[in-house]
Symmetry: D2
Subunit: 284 residues, 4 copies
């Protein structure tokens, strides 16, 4: 029985809610973010003896997020990069930093008025020494096809009761993250294109399984942007069950469905470029 030792560890400030207003005369813009910082390095002292001389406080990390926003936020990939590059030099003990940002959608209603839209844009930047990595993504992107989805040909064992189907509703809430091979990008254009390709691939893929749809979505995103090295998709299968109306003397030709909560299928997969650079610290 060996001695005990400190293993992997990290710390930071989670969910700093930052709203930035940019004013161009009477036309304002808003940037609405949820920022989480995470630092790692040589932090044994505080764990073992409570010596905090190497611990940049999470409160300071939060202050840094707000102070950096004074100079503007811009694209969230850039803002996350500015922050991680600062943090890896902020204390001698800190050698690695990650900043994860969620950006909420707002639609313009007027010069200074906005309504909240659906879906979230995400970015995670990581740094170690002079190196940095960026992963962009979306979450809470809920999509549904009323047809064009089949599921059959699966193995049947003692516990199988699921009937085969050649027409079902396919619905999911997309969480996707894609890794950039280089950091010299137009983040806004890259994001808009990737999101659009995700949506169109979901919409126009005739699906024999949610895995096939996942792969098609991943391929479409990478195919459209040479700078993307890898994409990871997490797709809950939001089941819609056809309701049996026969007890009421009614048929149900694919019209009335029950949308279930739990349990749900959960399909996760990645598509990558065969010659992609190593992911390094690009924590997902």
């Amino acid at each position: 029985m060996g001695s005990l030792e400190l293993g992997a560890n990290q710390y930071g400030k989670a969910e700093c809610r930052l709203v930035r207003v940019d004013r161009d005369g009477d036309t304002h813009a808003i940037t609405d973010l949820n920022v989480t910082t995470t630092l790692a390095g040589d932090l044994a002292a505080t764990h073992l003896t409570g010596d905090n001389s190497g611990v940049l406080p999470t409160d300071t990390q939060k202050n840094t997020v707000y102070a950096f926003a004074r100079d503007g936020v811009g694209e969230i990939e850039d803002f996350a990069l500015r922050l991680v590059r600062h943090f890896v030099t902020a204390a001698p003990t800190i050698s690695r930093a990650r900043v994860r940002i969620e950006q909420y959608t707002w639609d313009r209603m007027g010069g200074h008025s906005f309504s909240r839209g659906a879906g979230t844009r995400t970015a995670t930047a990581s740094a170690e020494g002079d190196q940095a990595w960026v992963v962009s993504g979306v979450s809470d992107l809920v999509v549904l096809n009323t047809t064009g989805s089949e599921f059959h040909g699966f193995p049947r064992d003692r516990y199988t009761t699921l009937p085969e189907t050649t027409d079902r509703i396919l619905a999911t809430a997309v969480t996707a993250t894609w890794r950039h091979a280089s950091l010299d990008q137009d983040w806004s254009t890259s994001f808009a294109g990737a999101k659009q390709r995700l949506l169109t691939a979901f919409a126009d893929t005739h699906s024999l399984s949610l895995q096939q749809t996942l792969h098609a979505m991943g391929e479409r995103v990478l195919d459209g942007d040479d700078n993307l090295a890898e994409i990871k998709l997490t797709l809950p299968n939001k089941h819609h069950f056809l309701v049996d109306l026969a007890p009421f003397g009614l048929d149900n030709p694919g019209e009335v469905f029950y949308a279930a909560d739990r349990p749900y299928g959960l399909i996760e997969g990645t598509v990558r470029r065969s010659d992609a650079p190593d992911a390094g610290l690009a924590w997902w």
Copy 2:
């Protein structure tokens, strides 16, 4: 000390998740609902002795929701009315019924593909005997003005520390319900107009208090539709606090804000027509 007696009571099935698909050739439409039924009447027997001969089971209520959807859903006000009119005749004990529906927003991406949007449309129908009432509404409609909001002139007591302001962010998540004077309506047009007026009133009202904005929103909705008798608004004040950047040697001219979670102001009010018909059973 008096004897004990059964007081007000009701029961039903909450949150029936119903998705209806309408197919017009290759162009499909979806209606995505959360339906809650509530019945009341002479239900003393089951409470006092467990005699269920007058209790239309909540499971039957759920089945009825799905079976009725077989004939189409249409506007949620109509669907709720069909259901309550059925329920008040479904068992001799049941004299009152209410059906509340939440309808989720979906944006079309293709003939059979959709993405989930923001905001929820609501409708509540109530019936007793031959009478019926309808209340329409919205929820989860999150809006924000970056300027055009002041708050000053309030009383100051021993516990007051809030500074007066002539320029602040005003943000809220609108829950609004409006009661129809008659049921002979084009629900879709009525809803679209009311929602649009809510949004424009929020956007173009120069606000001295969230109460003033609430009242302006209510007036605007009623002003645009003679059939609306009353509107109730619930507006959480989603505080955005200007971050003090002075400790970092920075000013903050209305640019960097912290979006707080709790506590929050909660402003509730109604605007009504002076000659509005009585609300009757129009449960909110």
Copy 3:
């Protein structure tokens, strides 16, 4: 078509999270609260013109909650009463006040160490002029009987498919509020007794319907405390469905259940004393 007028309105600060520590030597006690204040009165000016001279700011309400806690909190009914009696005199426009408190459960692990327990105690005090009312209660009290619950004898119509049962799981999350006839009470003893009677009535009532259980719980609470005028119970029927294992060649003699999320039955009812004083402003 009549003119528009301001209807019922109120405002306040929701969800002030207050933790109070009391120190008796090395033995500490904590009181962990979520406090919501609501004021009403003559507030037309701010709604109509933005004149805030009668609007005690919600920020001041929050400050008052924290400042009053400096003198100790004690029982939440007393703390809520202190606050509402202050608020109704805090500004000439304010004539009615309500304070609702949720108290979270903590179990002692040591002199200054605690772990969070289940269930929430609640209290709501209301005041108008010299009068005041108190309602106590519980929420998030989740209970389950594995047997002793039947449901049969209900009417069957075209939409009924539910089989009758003489043995099912009965589970619910109790939200209950009970109104005190007078305010001269030992709140702690009263609460402990009411909660205990709720639990024992749930456990030892052989149930023919959830309504019958609800009524038995309400009667039990009132029977044990002459000062209680009325009790309101909200009981979601957390359905547990027996899983059909026959496709796998297995029986299922009441052993394996699927715990469903939605939809759920929702049973609401009140039990009251026939000579109970009027509820007045005792908002539930």
Copy 4:
């Protein structure tokens, strides 16, 4: 720019809600679980062509969970092991399986009556070929110390405003998972001991940082059970801020606190045995 290829992938059924009742005469016991299954292996065909011949449906996985419960559940570690050992042989394509279980706490009120308690017990079993791994844990274990916590000696930079403190509230919601070196265990006794040591280490550690408390908790758990190879802890720092009552002419000697929601510190770390066996597939 290389060709695209399928990367890491897995799939399964998330959140199967299973309640098992065991009857010993009039004394019943319940086991209340949330079970998530995840399978991986050679699943390229379904991703690339929609050929599902190797895809054991997630519906079948769910059925298997319920069918296996017919023979009893027992300790969740054993139930998870039974399931993963089945799944890795259930289809030729499936080479790896993981089952994660959350078990909810119920306190006995009578022979067949229970009330839901706080905290969740967790277990994850993983298998590949003949090998298997088990990780046990807790989540939602919320604890608080009113004193015995300091935080000072940290570096100060341009963005630091946090004052040093020698006495603060320390509160967290513990998520911990610990890996077993061998599978020949009395899971119930092991779990009870580990949980108790977590709690007592939190309570009796005089803390100079939450990292120090984390490490002390991890050491305590491993010290008490030679079979534990590693423990991972995730501890949000649930900040309690002393309220400034000076504007109201009041002091605040550590009595009145504001419990904040966001942002929060997030401290994560592991403690491991220097000669611990490799984690293999013991997915956390």
